[in-house]
């Protein structure tokens, strides 16, 4: 590119020169991005949770997001919003999104042809634990065992899990005895701030939490990047 002619600098030529370098590199960066994200090890992502700010819950966006996840090969998804709007729209979402079935009790996380969808809300968190506490209390009330324990541990995590199972939250029982149940590996937060908004506490002890911004401005590239970042994480679990 000639930018000096007759000893004079052409107007705009310095700008062209400054842009030519980065612009010329663009195909290279695109190629690197495609190559990198093509090797997405989606099998590492056994269970994905999505927390959505209740005020932003547009089912059209949710269905589009689910479609992206299905295209990526994600098999098990939990949709959470604090006020339970997604739970109320469960039937509509399942009807509009063909590629999913409802997560059932005793479902195990195996490869399935259709995506399994779970819907959760704030009442599945702290209130569920309170209900489980009542189940345990009534059980020990009937056996008359509580009074004989002085300062020792009277419940184990597996018993707590069984109690949670009784109130209809069966997956938590596996979680408490060793993490074989669907504790989300990754939790994506679609909202104005990075906050899990009361997602059942018992299930996110070691879950990676990524903030994605508002749902209305969700991007496919950001989703891939978040999942890619998760697949590169190594956890020590305290060791």
């Amino acid at each position: 590119m000639e930018f000096f002619q007759d000893g004079k600098v052409r107007e705009g030529s310095s700008l062209s020169l400054s842009l030519s370098g980065p612009l010329a590199m663009m195909p290279y960066f695109l190629w690197v991005a495609i190559w990198r994200y093509k090797s997405l090890h989606i099998s590492k992502l056994q269970y994905l949770a999505i927390v959505i700010e209740s005020e932003d819950c547009r089912t059209s966006n949710v269905i589009e997001l689910l479609q992206w996840l299905a295209d990526l090969g994600v098999k098990h998804v939990c949709l959470y919003d604090k006020e339970g709007i997604l739970k109320k729209s469960k039937d509509f979402i399942l009807e509009k999104f063909d590629g999913a079935t409802l997560f059932q009790e005793n479902d195990v996380l195996l490869d399935q042809p259709l995506m399994t969808l779970e819907f959760a809300s704030f009442s599945d968190g702290k209130e569920a634990v309170a209900k489980a506490a009542n189940v345990l209390f009534m059980k020990y009330l009937k056996s008359g065992s509580i009074s004989s324990y002085q300062g020792e541990q009277i419940f184990t995590e597996s018993q707590m899990g069984e109690a949670l199972k009784t109130v209809g939250l069966c997956y938590l029982s596996d979680l408490l005895v060793g993490g074989n149940g669907p504790e989300p590996d990754l939790l994506l937060v679609y909202g104005p701030a990075r906050c899990h908004l009361g997602f059942p506490a018992w299930r996110i002890r070691y879950t990676e939490i990524q903030h994605m911004g508002p749902l209305k401005s969700m991007k496919y590239g950001s989703l891939i990047k978040a999942i890619y970042k998760f697949t590169m994480v190594q956890q020590n679990y305290g060791k």
Binding site: A132, I154, C195, G198
Partner: protein, 274 residues
């Protein structure tokens, strides 16, 4: 490594003056009442500086002392630090023992600081897993600082959220029993909401001394809670920083507080809805 003269230096000097100027600016906006920290990255710091792991932990302890002082100056009332998880017992025994020795040293230093600045110190976790010596020192410190309420420091040691929730459920059941629920009899029908409520469980949490955190900071570039305050962080700003814990300083704190102030209205609205 942890010495009283180092603490006195932090409280005084031109750095303290500049810090107070910075905090005066930050105080134009809302200040969090409670900050929780996961102090991750001590071993990575040691590796980076080519020092042994224990010196890395010493540097981490010093960073925590700096944070306590910064928070006192800023106007934060509660600080909760994740010092040692029950899961950490799976580390090498020598490493665990060295951490316990550092804990003992820190208890001594906190005893001195608590008198200097009227700090209430609370140890949250399954303390019976600690050695008798540390348990006694911790209990003495908690008892001697019970009267202070200007600033509350909670050190989570031998702690996990799952153990905390289980412990709170047990305590709630025993409380209801002691209240005579068992004597009065019970309804034989299925009623999962009758006796124990969420508020009963929450008051028996190890960390019940403080309100729910406004900010939970994790250093080391990780994005998970690692079984720390998962129950209490429903409406909490989760902040993940790439810096390792020993390098956490006043500007990192200022950044986190500014981020919190940006989202303050959102979190205030969420807390009201709870």
């Amino acid at each position: 490594m942890l010495r009283e003269d180092i603490i006195i230096d932090i409280f005084s000097g031109w750095r303290s003056f500049l810090r107070k100027c910075l905090f005066r600016v930050l105080r134009v906006g809302p200040i969090p009442s409670h900050i929780a920290v996961i102090m991750d990255g001590n071993r990575r710091y040691a590796k980076k500086k080519k020092i042994d792991d224990m010196t890395g932990y010493d540097a981490g302890a010093l960073a925590l002392l700096h944070l306590i002082i910064y928070c006192m100056e800023l106007g934060v009332k509660y600080v909760t630090a994740y010092a040692f998880s029950i899961d950490n017992f799976r580390r090498q025994p020598e490493e665990v023992q060295k951490i316990m020795d550092l804990t003992m040293e820190s208890v001594m230093l906190l005893t001195w600081i608590s008198k200097l600045r009227s700090v209430r110190v609370h140890f949250a976790g399954k303390l019976q897993l600690l050695s008798a010596e540390i348990q006694d020192a911790a209990k003495r410190l908690m008892e001697s600082t019970e009267v202070y309420n200007n600033f509350v420091l909670t050190i989570c040691i031998c702690y996990t959220s799952s153990d905390e929730i289980l412990h709170a459920v047990e305590k709630s059941c025993k409380e209801k029993w002691d209240d005579g629920i068992g004597i009065m009899g019970y309804d034989k029908g299925n009623d999962y909401e009758r006796f124990i409520k969420v508020v009963d469980i929450e008051k028996h949490m190890y960390t019940a001394i403080a309100p729910d955190p406004d900010i939970l900071i994790r250093t080391g570039g990780e994005y998970r809670l690692s079984n720390f305050l998962v129950w209490q962080s429903s409406c909490c700003h989760l902040s993940s920083l790439g810096t390792v814990w020993p390098e956490f300083g006043v500007f990192h704190l200022a950044w986190v507080v500014l981020d919190f102030q940006k989202n303050y209205r959102y979190f205030a609205k969420k807390k009201l809805q709870l």
